[in-house]
Point group: C2
Chain length 216, copies 2
DNA sequence: GGAAAGCTGAAACGTGTGTTTGAAACCCGA
DNA sequence: TCGGGTTTCAAACACACGTTTCAGCTTTCC
């Protein structure tokens, strides 16, 4: 809108990117405003001027990351006529790329997501669940339901849905441990796709076991 | 050793328990010494006097929690003649009880473990991996190897091992999200065992898929 | 050219942190 | 009862945090 100097938008953008990097690296609580503005080559007052507060800056980062997420590779939606196993395979690959990919289309989305999942920022949790975690869970639930056939009884269906989620997100959550154990999570697109294939095989076989059980 | 008053050991113990509760609740970084000593009804200088520093107190909490862990229910070790599927079922049940159980034999172990997994405390990560994460991973690897039969090629075996781990620990890691999504992780022993049964079925079926694949 | 708006800079504010100090209070053995 | 080691306490330390202030600079518009 403004025809003013580029410096406004430039500083604001540098601030956003530096904040994204820092928030993704250490999470909201542990990130320091001074570290962010130093990385951005700006002054502390800039965050107040351009965004209002550290919290508002964090929300702006989330908004940006979410926008990048959906624009770079939208969530695959399973059609009714699709083979649900193939759909699950596609969805897991997409999900793991979303979570694990670094320094590509959405540099910090996965890491932000991991931090927010494990220790949610009060005030950001609800919007995160509504825009991100909720839709993903619903889509997986649809696919799992189609694979199993009839609805599993009680909480078992939800357990299975979150089991699939666990396979996708755990490499990110347990990143430091996995590195220490000599099995760092993949970062390149090819390696992520390979691992996603293994997880999809594992999940499909696992769910097929419940089909058989239900049909006994 | 000292035959002095109980107040020494009493304060020291109250400090340890209050610290355990706080560290488990918010993690090492976010926990404040003042909150701990307030909960313990002690003075700030008590942590220096009895433990040396906040970090040393944290290590003492870990040591205590680890001791409680192994004493209350030791890790099941699979024998060579055991049915590996049954062994996996037992192990998953034990692991999930370890991670999810609250306010019972080991009140904070699971939560400490979750925090340390996701955002490790520098200096405590190595001892945690050596004493806790490493042995668990090795035991699961043994069982998985026996189920699959011949070793899967490349990184696939490790992927499957950590897939099993993911099923067990994710309910704890994603706790807040799961609550928001209306599917809080179980806390009672019976509910944990039920969920562990589902996860074991899922894992065994999933791994059996790789047996078939390998034998093709 | 001058005034107004936009933007940045250094410094300080208030609060919270982990840690340290040194003097009281306490307890126990002699 | 006294002395000496043991344990507590309030106070302050130095530092880091997010936030605020306001002077000074730049840019834009009339």
């Amino acid at each position: 809108m403004s025809k003013r100097s580029d410096s406004h938008d430039a500083t604001k953008a540098r601030l956003l990117f530096a904040a994204g990097e820092e928030f993704a690296r250490v999470g909201f609580g542990a990130a320091s405003v001074r570290a962010i503005v130093d990385a951005a080559g700006a002054n502390v007052s800039a965050v107040k001027y351009h965004y209002g507060s550290k919290t508002d800056l964090y929300l702006a980062v989330w908004e940006f990351a979410a926008k990048q997420m959906v624009s770079s590779e939208p969530m695959p939606v399973v059609e009714d006529f699709d083979d649900p196993r193939q759909a699950l395979r596609r969805f897991i690959a997409w999900f793991m790329r979303l979570v694990l990919t670094e320094s590509e289309e959405h540099p910090w989305a996965g890491q932000l997501l991991a931090h927010e999942t494990v220790s949610p920022t009060p005030g950001a949790l609800d919007v995160f669940v509504a825009n991100c975690a909720g839709p993903i869970k619903d889509e997986i639930a649809r696919i799992v339901k189609k694979i199993i056939g009839r609805p599993a009884r009680g909480k078992t269906l939800d357990d299975l849905v979150f089991a699939v989620v666990a396979l996708c997100v755990n490499p990110k959550h347990s990143r430091e441990i996995l590195i220490k154990l000599g099995h760092p999570p993949p970062t390149t697109r090819a390696a992520i796709n390979r691992m996603a294939g293994v997880m999809a095989d594992f999940a499909i076989s696992g769910l097929d076991g419940f089909v058989a059980e239900e049909d006994r």
